[in-house]
Structure formats: C-alpha cells, structure tokens
Amino acid sequence: MSKQVTKKSLIVCLAVSLVLIIAGAFMFGFLGFNPDSTTKDYTVIEVSDSAGYMSFRSDFREALQDLCEKEIKAEYPVSSVRYTESTSAGGVIEFVLRSGAPTEEFLTSVRSAIASSGIEGLELADVAVSVHNVVNEGYTEYIWRTAVAGGVALVILFAYAAIRFKVGMGVAALVAAVHDILLTLAVVALLRIPAGVALIGVAAFSLLLSAALNLTVLGRMRSDFRNQPEGLTAREAVAQSVASSRKNVLIVAITLAAVCVVFGVVGAIVGMDLLTIMLCTLMSVVVSTYSSLVFMPAVYACIKERSDAKRAEKAKYNYLSDKKKEKEEKASAKKVAEEA
C-alpha cells in the first residue's frame, strides 16, 4: 500500500496544514499580507508643471527629471519614477520613495536647485514641488463578494462531485478545495510574499485549480473502482488510482508551474509586481498538486474505508436478528395465550 494514503499520513497532512494555516492566520492578523506596490502606503514627491511645457518638450522633462532624481536620491531612496500627463494640460513626474518623510526644508532645496539649474525652457514652465502621503484603503465589496462567490462555488463543487461521483468524493473535493485556498493564503502570508488586490484572484484560481486536479484524481478513482479486483482494501484501491492519475496531475501542474516561472522571470525584468503575483500563483500550484496527490486521497481513503465497512456490515446476513425475531414472536404468542 502507498504510504501516502495511510491514516498516519492523513494525520501528518492535517497537522502540517493546520499548523501552517493557523500560523498564517496569526501572521495575517498581526501584520496582514505583505503589501505590493498596488496596496502599499507610500510617500511621493511630485514635480508638476501646470503650464504643460513638459508634456510637449520631452528634452525639458528629461532634464528636469534627471536633476530632481539626483537631488532626491541624494537624501531618500526612490523605488520608482513615473511620468503622468494631464488630459487637459500639464504633467507630473512622481518620485515614489521607499522610505523617509521629506521635510519642507528639503522641498525648498529642491525648488531652489530647479530654479538655479538653468534648464532651457524653465521660464516657460510653471514648476511646483510637493510631497504627498498616499494611504491605501480596503476593498470591502470586492473581497466579500468574491468570498460569497467562492462559497457558492464550493457548494456547487461538492454537489456535482457528490451526485456525479459519490458523496464521499464530494466531501473529499470540498475539504481539499477549502484546504487549498486557506493553505495558499497562509503560505503567502507566512513567506511574506508581497501581494495586492490580485491575491484575491489567486485565491479564486486556487479554487479552480484544486477542483480541476482533484476531479482528475477522483475521475480516475471512479473508473478504477468499477473494475476493482477482488481483495483490494479501500486504501490500496485509492493508492492505486492516485498512482495511475499522478502523471495527469503532473502534466497540468508542471505546465502551470512552468508558466509561473517563465512569467516570474519576465516579471523580474519588467516589474516586481508580476514576479510576486507569479510567486503567489506558484504557491497555489504547489499546494493544489500536493493536495490532489497526497491530502485529498488520504481524506477520501478514510471516508471510503468507513463506507466500505458499513456496506459490508449491511451486506452481512444477520443471524442474531433472526433469533431475536423468533424470540419476540414466541414471547408475544405466549402473552396472547396467557391473556386468553
């Protein structure tokens, strides 16, 4: 019998998952998720030109940007520089700071550096320097609606698997899907992978992937159990099906993991947010693969063992009840005779 579907393995899996999920929940409770650039509070130094000169003279903008970048970087670490253009007139160069809170004296020094820079066209522009503190707020409606949608999707997954396969399989698919979503979020929280709004999407992806992979294994079990040879125990039958569906699960998992790795590498080149979201997705792929090959079969083996035992118990011819019945009949006949 495969070691993966023993009672011991289920207990180990459950213990590991529970510890990780609880630790992740504590980490989330105390520190929250490590925010990425979309959800992080940040301080930005804005160099704006309300006259709109920098929007049609790129050489002026570049010179101004270089000067300001040099001045700001000398005092504060800058995480990104971006240029935004007004739809009417004007433009803004934003210097997003990694840390620090610029003082009014510093802004004055930047303003005087610009004024004394002698950049061509400066007199035609209307340059202002300001610092802003941007605080992110929660996305309540988005989160609760996705949570409700996830809940309904779980019910549908259970109902479909229970009706089309077996009730036990429905339960196993449901438990595995909940486990996968929670474990993915817990691992992301524990490893402090930067995550933003897209993490909710990753949780939804985790649900879909878990459903796909677990159905692959459960589908194989269903077809295998039909032609199950005599003498196999429930755990052995489950282990055999898992072994034969391993290849199928790995095809999907490896393909998706490869996509995550390739996009992650691309993300490292173009923008860190893509890398971090791909890391979160990779976690989801790893968790769902582990769950479909180890956790879910261990859960289902337990269910199947019990249901097989119950079925065997029902199928037994109950001599005891026959004797009981005989005794009761005799007793009632005696009672009737006594009354008469």
């Binding site: 503190n133 605080v135 949608a149 997954l157 939804a204 879909l208 992937l209 893509l274």
Partner: protein, 496 residues
Amino acid sequence: MGKKKSVALIVLATLVLAALLFISVTPSFYVSAAEKFNSLLSIVDLGTDLGGGYYTVYYPEGVISQGEYEMLVAEYEEGQAADTDVEDPAQNYLAYKGIYLSKDICEDDGNGNPTGEEFEAFRAEFRRAFNAISARFESKGFIGCSVKVQDDYTIRVDIPYTDESVSKLFDSFAYSGTLLFTDDGANPNEMRGDAAHVKGAEVVEGTNGFAVAINLTSLGRSEFRTITAAISGGSDSSSSSSSSGGTLYIKVGDEVLTQASVSSELDQDVVYISGAFDSRDAAQTIASVINSTLDENKVFDMKLDASQIFTFEPTMGEHASVIIAAAFGVFILAMIVLMLVRYKGMGLAHVYGFLLYALLLIVCIALIPAMRVDIVGVIAIALSAALMVFFNVYAFNNIREEFATGKTLTASVKAGYKKSLAFTIDAHLVLALLGLVLYLISTATVRYAALIFLIGTVLSAACTLAVTRFFLYMFLAQPKNKIAFCNLRREETEDE
C-alpha cells in the same frame, strides 16, 4: 475520409488559421496615410496593471493643492508690487502635508496643526465622502481601480482606460447631497430619492440602447405618479411644464445627474431612463450614483473638485502586456514542438486544435466589450490553456493504451475518445459552472478573470471533444503508415 477531401479540408483549415493568426497577432501598421490596421491583440482592453489608465485627485471645498497655493502667492506678490489689495494666502491657509487647508474649515493650534470644531465636522464629512466615492467606484466594477486617501484630506482615484467620458465620470461620482426627482420649476414638484421611495437602480438594454431602470417602492410609485402627472400637465400644477409634457430632472444635491422628458403620468414600479447613454458604462455611472445615495451613510455634504485628470502608465511596467504576450508566444511554440515530437500526427491535430482555441479566445477577449485582461486574467488564460493541453494529452494517452492492447488505429481512436469523454465533459462542466458562479457573484478583477476562464473552458471543451478529433481524422487520411504517423506502438509480448 477520402484523400482529396482531406487535402481540401487541411488547406481550408490552414487558411482559416493563418487568417485568424494574421488579424489576431500581426503588429499594427498603417494601410494608408490615414488608416491603420490594428490587430485584435492590440485592441484588447487591459486593466491598470497592464494597460495603465486615468487618475484624479478629489479636493474637498476648502482644500487646495501646492500648485494652487503657489498661484495665490504669486498673485499676492504681484498685488503687493502693484499696491493693490490682495489677501495674503499665508493668512488664509494652513500647510498640511502636501496640501493647504483653508482657515474657514480649521484653526491653527499654534504648532501648525489643524484643529477646532469645524475641522472635526470637516473630518467626519470627509470620511463619509470617501466611503461614498469608494462605493461608487467599486460598484462600477473597474478592473484595477483603486481609491486611496492622499494627505489625509484628498482622495486619489485610479481607473483603467474607459470608453465613456472620463471627466463626466469623475464629475458625476463627486456629486454630493441627496437624490431628488424634480421638474426644477419655480414651485417645484419633487420626490425625494431615498430608501423609502427607491429600491435601487440597474442598467438594462432595450431596443433604444442602454437605459437606467429605477425600481420604486410603493410609496415611491405613488409619489412618482403624482409628480409625473404634474410635469406632463395631466393635473393642476404650478410648474413651468406645459400640457405637451415637461422635463424630469434627477438631481444629486444641486447637480443634474440625468434628465428625461415626461409626456404622460407614469404609474409603474420600474422607471426607465433612456436615450442619453451611448454605452453601458455611461448608464452604469448613473446607476452607481443613484444606488450610493440610497444608503444614508453614504450621503455626504461636501463639494469635491476633480479638475485635473492625468493618464498613467501600466503599474507593472510600460511594456508588461507586450512582454507577457511574447512570453505566451514562446510558451506556445515550446508546447507545439513538444507535442509534435511526442505525438507526431496526433500532436499536429492538437496544434491545429490549440491554435483555433487560442485564436478564438483572442477574438472573444478583443470583441466582447465586457472582457478586460489584467494579471489575474492572464492566470485564468494560462489555466484554461493548460487544461486544453491536458485533455488532449489525456485523450491521446487513452488512444495509445487502446492501440497497445491490439485494436486497429480507427478503433483505438474511437475507444480512446470514448474513454476520455465522460471525464472531459465532467471536468469542463464543473469548471465552467465554477467560472460562471464567480462571474455572476464576484466583482472587478475576479469577475473579469472568471469570464475569461468561462469562455476559455467552453472553447477548450469544444476544441478537445470535437475540433481536435476532427483534425485528427483529417490528417489520418493522408499518410500511408498511419501508425508511424501517430507514433503508436503495440505492447510487446514475450513468446513462451
């Protein structure tokens, strides 16, 4: 299938795929000096992370930006030089972070910090305004939209590019006050738009385009009948409306949100406002504002100004979408090579099936207005594509197993597909159902990604069960050695 028929079909299929490939992925180019060819990929709507968008900063009344303050200072200095009476902005404003607070809304505590009763009232009202603005943008379901507090007392909103007028959108969402249905006459006929009168508003599509359907309560219905009767001239009214009808204004505070002509008394549970909306988005904007005003906690009394709107680059990097598309292309090429090496003829059928799936998905994403792609959408595409590849591989492996047991090639293909049919349908059905549920209930990023996944799953099912199989039959008509063409082998048995 006959060889000639097979050749004709292969040529036709190849031409269709080539044409689809051309219109889908060819880089944009100018056909003439004025006209440009845009591929389907280039017109895909993107989220803020991959496509950038617009942002604005809402300044409440009494709060000004650094730029505005510097203009006031310049005016003051000019006034001083010309010896004219111009107020000193330093006397009227208090610097706070990157903004300036008018002393009409706060007092200086002596250390340069705002304080006072009025300031507390301002803070409370600002919080209500922020909640209302957040609710309005969230209900729009923008992908990658964010509403943030900047410098404690201004609101920064980022949204993706949209087809509707962005200035009108930002302005409408800043409207403050209660909802009112009125004819705006000297002695106006009015109905309050609160939860007692209005259940909610939604967008509907009719024969005349998009409309906003306003669901009224029974009290709302009776009052609406009264005011429409008055406006249309059906009853005695002191309003300016004539007997030929009048105009009903739907106002939020002092601002007109939308208006409609009324020519007769309207006694109905649902009122439809149509004709003024060129897109679903424009109608949705009105519905979102109406719905937010029905919640008492989201009615605020504070003027917000969003005079400047900026465009911003994709948050994931300027060329993130192009690089992601290129990475997908490389990935597909690698998959094609792998499938051709491993399954030869069956792999070729898969390549045709997969290309059709991928191109149809691009067509859907580009042409269906409700579809937008962000990074979660990209993950949904990857999942759906991986499933498409898997189910074809699953069917091919079943064909291999059947062939190894001694069946003929045709019988193996039939039996292999039959064996994989039930599970393929089950998995696609469950995943499509889950995608549908997520699409119907969720919002924003997940909603768009779920729609992509739903369509991808449907296409994957069609391509796996029908298209790839059809292509396989089409290709099998050509080679002399069909078994070698499909890279199939019999099980080797040892003679005893």
